[in-house]
Symmetry: C2
Subunit: 307 residues, 2 copies
């Protein structure tokens, strides 16, 4: 099954007619992982028919309004629609306080449990059976993090030929071997999974930087990612201004992509000053060919790797 | 000069593809008066090219997220654009606390002064040379207010014929009389403004209810309004549900319009359940003919009365 990466908002700190405030939605097998949640995201969700009842985890990179002010509205709409499933929110220190004070001053009730996890340092912040989300401290203003969504490797491909050669008939025994369990014949003879399975197949990896200027550990953190979503707020000519504001240029994003040997790079958090992001893509492609600029509602599909 | 009333968001508690969250912008002679400020309003402002540097006062009817969550984003964008003019915000008790805690947890600086006025009871909340804004306690949930924008009467029409007949030559003396000042001839003889001016001309009046179920004092409060913008969240068939939630139906809005003898009625805060608001308009028109449903970006012009 493909993972769908939907760009809900691709603007910089100020929205434009074409670009909403930052949010990226990763859809995987009916579950949603959202990175950042700027003002207006609930409406962007409606436009893509994202739904408000699905299993969802939201990861906030840093506590600036343009990355977090959509959260209360999303929660309020979920409550209006009588959501029952738990909502999980991850973000830097301060996210609990922000949500508490908004809920307290606006007095809205919720119909579902909310689990808030404050991210205090780099490392795995969320571990599930099939994937993990890791954070690394980035270099914006105050406390900020990049996140990586990392699928765990899947078991190797099952060889029907080998199974039949070993005398195992089609049926529940095949399933046991596929799930990594040994099978025992009445004769006492055993067949181990590795006798019928190929080598483990790699999972997919998506890295979302949030706002940041370049920082050393990103290359390692993003190594071999299928997709690096990197901010490129200002073009190369404005590198000095970008540095002052804690932002990156296309060349800096491309350098990170190259060092990390990622498969593709998408530039986002595009400043309102660029009516057309072509200049940013051009600058990045000099260093990293497989680059494109995000647009609102753009979708990137990452098929299941079959190696 | 006409007053332009621009409907920035006409949805109920949940936005839809066609309806943003509540906000109405009154533009009068380069100044803006906004009623409510739901999530996404800054982007709606951009669509109508409303600008972020104008003189503006924002009036919040009640402290529910869908009416107030656009405020921090508007303020943040104003700051990013280096606004210098003061921003005035009026709203029920709690508005100061809400804005303080958001600014504190999201740490955004402002480039302009903000004046917050907590509205505690019915009465005039803002008085300017040419208009006033009055509040009346409405009947929603918790503390809620309706607002009326009321232009002061203008001086009567200046009669060139009468001025010339009295021997006053065209020039600065005309202007003095037009501005309500007496004029004295060297002979000692006086001309008073009322000798050359017709009777005072009425100002315009716009009433915005915010969320409310029917309440007795609205009829008086809205008397003779040029425009009554009344919520009609649910249709007549759902009157019981509307009552429970502190909302109104089209017939209730129309009844208020009729009692108050307003000139026109616009229904807004339309629930997401109505793809087409025609049913609401139909129900209201049975009781008050000059009714229409608000749509996002609809503009109503109120010309300068010339009576």
């Amino acid at each position: 099954m493909s993972i769908k990466v939907v760009f809900l908002g691709t603007g910089g700190s100020i929205p434009t007619l074409k670009r909403g405030l930052p949010a990226v939605l990763v859809e995987r097998w009916g579950e949603q992982i959202m990175f950042d949640c700027g003002e207006g995201v609930q409406r962007q969700m409606m436009i893509i028919r994202g739904g408000f009842h699905k299993k969802i985890k939201i990861f906030i990179t840093h506590m600036h309004g343009d990355h977090v002010l959509g959260l209360p509205g999303v929660m309020q709409t979920m409550a209006m629609l009588n959501r029952e499933k738990k909502l999980e929110i991850y973000g830097p220190l301060g996210i609990t306080r922000f949500l508490e004070c908004v809920r307290e001053t606006l007095q809205f009730g919720l119909t579902f449990p909310v689990e808030i996890h404050e991210v205090e340092e780099s490392g795995v912040v969320c571990e599930e059976a099939e994937y993990a989300v890791e954070a690394v401290r980035s270099n914006h203003v105050g406390s900020s993090f990049c996140y990586a969504f990392i699928e765990k490797p899947r078991p190797g491909r099952f060889s029907i030929k080998k199974a039949l050669a070993l005398g195992i008939p089609e049926g529940p025994l095949w399933s046991r071997l596929q799930h990594g369990q040994k099978v025992k014949f009445p004769s006492g003879e055993e067949v181990r999974p590795e006798q019928v399975l190929g080598s483990a197949r790699r999972g997919r990896k998506i890295v979302y930087t949030g706002d940041t200027k370049p920082f050393r550990s990103l290359a390692k953190f993003a190594t071999d990612a299928d997709l690096l979503i990197h901010e490129a707020t200002l073009d190369d000519e404005l590198a000095e201004r970008a540095r002052e504001d804690g932002h990156s240029t296309p060349s800096q994003a491309a350098t990170a992509a190259k060092k990390a040997k990622v498969k593709q790079l998408v530039l986002t958090h595009i400043s309102a000053r660029y009516e057309d992001a072509a200049i940013l893509v051009k600058q990045a492609r000099r260093l990293f060919r497989n680059t494109q600029a995000a647009e609102d509602f753009m979708i990137i599909e990452l098929p299941l790797p079959d190696d």
